[in-house]
Symmetry: C2
């Protein structure tokens, strides 16, 4: 098969006007950015509000291997498939981060014959939204450090500053730094660091805002640290929020691209899935929900993480109600959940995993059952998408089908990677059936519950933990947040995506364990409190052989080596 880039470049793109028209958006609502990308004006939210809403479908997954199980590819494949059964669909996904594109992971435009194009633009700057997040975030950082330099009028406690800086690059050397060295004019010396832009609270704000005014208000509420008396200091206090909103003024407009089969795709925002909620933007969905019969969106990582956060954070903010949830499963991931293999990113699969072995799939099936259950917990109909790989055996697909059906889910085997939308027709039909059922969507917890109640509800009901253990620091932080009036925010638990538990080595559906909450941070602007369970890396590094080393221009100025 051809490379993703070669397939993407062979695509017959439609003029974006036509793509927009297929979701009922006229040229007056478009701002072209180059030939094959456009921004959609924000007034589209209001102008389209009286159209009938599409069915709202979220694509989530079982607990993935470090290789990923093709969730974006399935999202794109499903979106493409609807056209094959006579339905109009819109897709909404996150913008890839440039850091991983040049690191190990590569881009995130889908793959094979289920891709978003132009993939070169999607995987690089697109319309600059990521850069705007970087600029807005770092302006606040500069104003914060400048405030310290100018005599610290806000009485900030240097040991209680939580705001760092961000860059969209995998740069391990920036994780822990000391700033303000040099002379008297060179700022106040203190330890801090950089996170990757996807980890910025400004990114989470972008993803959760419902309007430009809402974005402005959320930015004002961003807490950068605490005074020596323990009171929060905000971006508003530093008089930075207005300029930050000005910097974000274009970035809040969703980007329109298309798939290889010309299905409209909204690409907007790219928050992390652990320390943030890992979902594309609310405004993109508010527009996409008016675009036809189905809006297919993707939630980061497995149903325990991105899925739970989609239901309880994103839907709570947007007011939208999901009609169905796709749970992507693969033979290789279920074999890995048997606990018999070790899968490492950037390396080929162990030979033993490539043998026909439906029993091993069944041994790992507890993970699938639990993730189906995690969808049903929210009253949403699950559909299992078996993302087929060439090395799979029919008996292994059959094993997944049995387990899923026994758990009460619809099931479809998908070959959209090699066959495009045609390869996901069975899935589209199953999703159509599932979303035609009456919905009974419900949040897992009410906003009025205490922060501890929220954490414990998720830990016990979604993760299957026996309970939660708080470190003394975490307990103090929770008390502080409750006292500061942040107790009614949803919680966004930062834990590994490689296990339903907080221990990445535990496969399947672990039981008999307790969730350890090491510390609790708060993104007051974005609107969630995030307990940290385990080591969360917020700035990736490059390996010995970074993807960047193989990416170049050819003699015609075309990109080579990007994937």
């Amino acid at each position: 098969m051809q490379s993703d880039l070669a397939i993407a470049r062979s695509a017959a793109l439609k003029p974006l006007d036509e793509v927009a028209a297929s979701m009922g958006i006229g040229p007056d609502l478009l701002e072209p950015y180059g030939e094959n990308v456009a921004k959609i004006k924000l007034k589209a939210v209001d102008e389209l509000a009286d159209r009938p809403p599409a069915k709202y479908v979220v694509v989530t997954a079982i607990t993935p291997t470090p290789l990923g199980e093709g969730k974006t590819t399935t999202t794109v494949g499903l979106g493409q498939a609807f056209k094959h059964i006579g339905k109009r669909a819109t897709i909404a996904i996150r913008q890839p981060s440039m850091g991983p594109t040049f690191g190990i992971k590569g881009g995130a435009a889908g793959g094979g014959w289920s891709q978003v194009v132009p993939m070169e633009l999607l995987n690089l700057h697109l319309t600059g939204d990521m850069h705007a997040v970087t600029a807005a975030h770092n302006l606040l950082s500069a104003m914060l450090d400048n405030s310290l330099h100018q005599g610290n009028p806000h009485d900030l406690d240097l040991d209680a500053i939580t705001w760092r800086r961000v860059l969209d690059v995998n740069d391990r050397a920036l994780r822990n730094i000391v700033v303000g060295l040099g002379g008297k004019e060179d700022g106040v010396t203190r330890q801090t660091g950089f996170d990757i832009t996807a980890a910025s609270e400004v990114m989470a704000v972008l993803a959760l805002s419902t309007s430009l005014q809402d974005l402005r208000r959320r930015l004002g509420r961003v807490v950068v640290g605490y005074t020596r008396a323990g009171d929060p200091v905000t971006a508003e206090d530093l008089q930075a929020a207005g300029s930050m909103a000005v910097i974000m003024r274009e970035a809040i407009k969703p980007n329109l691209l298309q798939t290889l089969e010309n299905t409209p795709v909204l690409v907007h925002a790219g928050p992390f899935g652990n320390i943030a909620h890992g979902n594309s933007s609310v405004v993109a969905d508010l527009i996409g929900i008016r675009g036809g019969d189905y809006l297919v969106t993707e939630a980061g990582f497995g149903a325990d993480i991105g899925g739970e956060k989609f239901f309880n954070i994103k839907c709570r903010t947007s007011g939208l109600r999901p009609d169905a949830a796709v749970v992507v499963a693969t033979v290789r991931a279920l074999k890995a959940h048997s606990g018999r293999h070790r899968v490492v990113a950037g390396r080929p699969l162990p030979e033993a995993m490539l043998q026909e072995n439906p029993d091993e799939v069944l041994e790992g099936a507890a993970n699938l059952v639990k993730q189906i259950d995690n969808v049903r917990l929210h009253g949403v109909s699950p559909v299992v998408a078996i993302n087929a790989f060439p090395e799979d055996f029919a008996s292994e697909h059959e094993a997944i089908r049995q387990v899923a059906e026994q758990a009460g889910a619809r099931v479809a085997v998908c070959t959209h990677f090699s066959d495009g939308g045609r390869g996901a027709i069975e899935l589209a039909e199953a999703v159509a059936e599932a979303s035609a059922e009456p919905t009974d969507f419900r949040f897992l917890y009410p906003a009025a519950a205490s922060l501890r109640e929220k954490i414990e509800t998720i830990a016990e009901r979604v993760y299957g933990a026996d309970g939660v253990d708080y470190s003394p620091a975490a307990s103090r932080q929770l008390d502080t947040y409750e006292r500061n009036g942040f107790g009614d925010l949803p919680v966004c638990i930062a834990k590994t995506h490689l296990s339903i538990s907080s221990d990445p080595s535990l496969k399947g559906a672990p039981t008999g364990w307790r969730l350890p909450v090491r510390e609790v941070r708060a993104n007051i602007g974005a609107g969630f409190v995030y307990p940290i369970c385990g080591d969360m890396r917020t700035m990736p590094g490059l390996g010995t052989r970074a993807a960047a080393m193989s990416i170049d221009l050819d003699d015609d100025g075309e990109i080579v080596g990007l994937s």
Copy 2:
């Protein structure tokens, strides 16, 4: 008078297709970015190459006060004025840096009725070129530090690493930092720092490249440091140059905007004027030179700095030959050159400078005479533009006129700030006359001269120094560069822009002094060696009252407070 932003917002913008058509560029060469900005495809350089070239006019200035003397405003006013005398003009300027926009200086879109619009976009991200420079630069930084972390295969000398990081923000705390703290996986600990993006060598590469292929080659030649044996290590050695070029692939296309009077404006690249050459891009000029009767471009700071670098660096690279040079002069700057006043950025002028005093103007006139001479040194016809302010007196303008005419320059009083192009008709006529004269353009030095000969030629003939003193370090560095084969590069002297000398407190046209060269650095990728004379700040800071504190969105989502 209304604020710049209010005037800009009241502008009757023409569709960009029409603006492009007025410079002979069809819609097939345009890539729209939003409604009022477009990129011009790079193939325009070749496609337009057989059209007759426009007259090439560079706008430079006397030595400015810290307030600036309205060079961009005059560039825009002159460009607008040509239409009033029946000629077609194109303008080419640098992209403003976002750091100063939120700092003290504000944006750089011109002012009053001589502005480039939409000024909100120009002063913020525009099409993301600055962000692309930041991303390409910092990818190389990450790959460099990662190479150290992965066992330092290139045997880099940690004390001889010259490559830093960049951000487009005024952030004094980032000037001197220590990276690589934390644990073993968090990189190698070493001291380094951030410069503002305008100071990036990648920015200078963008500004001086003649094609995408040339940009790729220049990026490969970028030197990041030296081995323990003293050999240069390049971006090509680190296998970073290909990805950097991929990141810059869209950024190398010039941006098309328009003035308040619909004159086409190419905005492209924004290199610093001290440690870099301070001129907009070569590719923009290669396109703009085919756009009509006149191409008006601007060179940073005074004729001794941006002007000299325009002639000897930019024109040497582009192959274009200037036909006339405008020297912007103001009453306030010439009064300041009398040495009797102290002008401080962000504060009102001293009361004493606002009195009618043509004698004081004459006392400062030596600076004007010397800068006129600096233009003539290169065989180019000078035209003095007196940029009139409301507080000026006619007698003071008359004094400037006498001095300029005595020095053999044409002269025009301009009121384009308050009157738009109409206010610069006299200037346009004088420029038309000057550029109709036979040209005798010449470089100040041949490429084959030694680096020391080049430095001394500029110091003595342009700056009026008695000679050059090299520190021992500078001498060693010059020897190293000559030995490494960099001796045929032009030199780009980094010195204060507030005096023709290297001492910012010396006004007028200082004599009886020697130029002290403290150290010499090399931008091998961009293609120049830069001797450093005095303290050059490459990362600005914010003041107690940053512009960012006053910028915000109003209830309609429109920007307020931007200037």
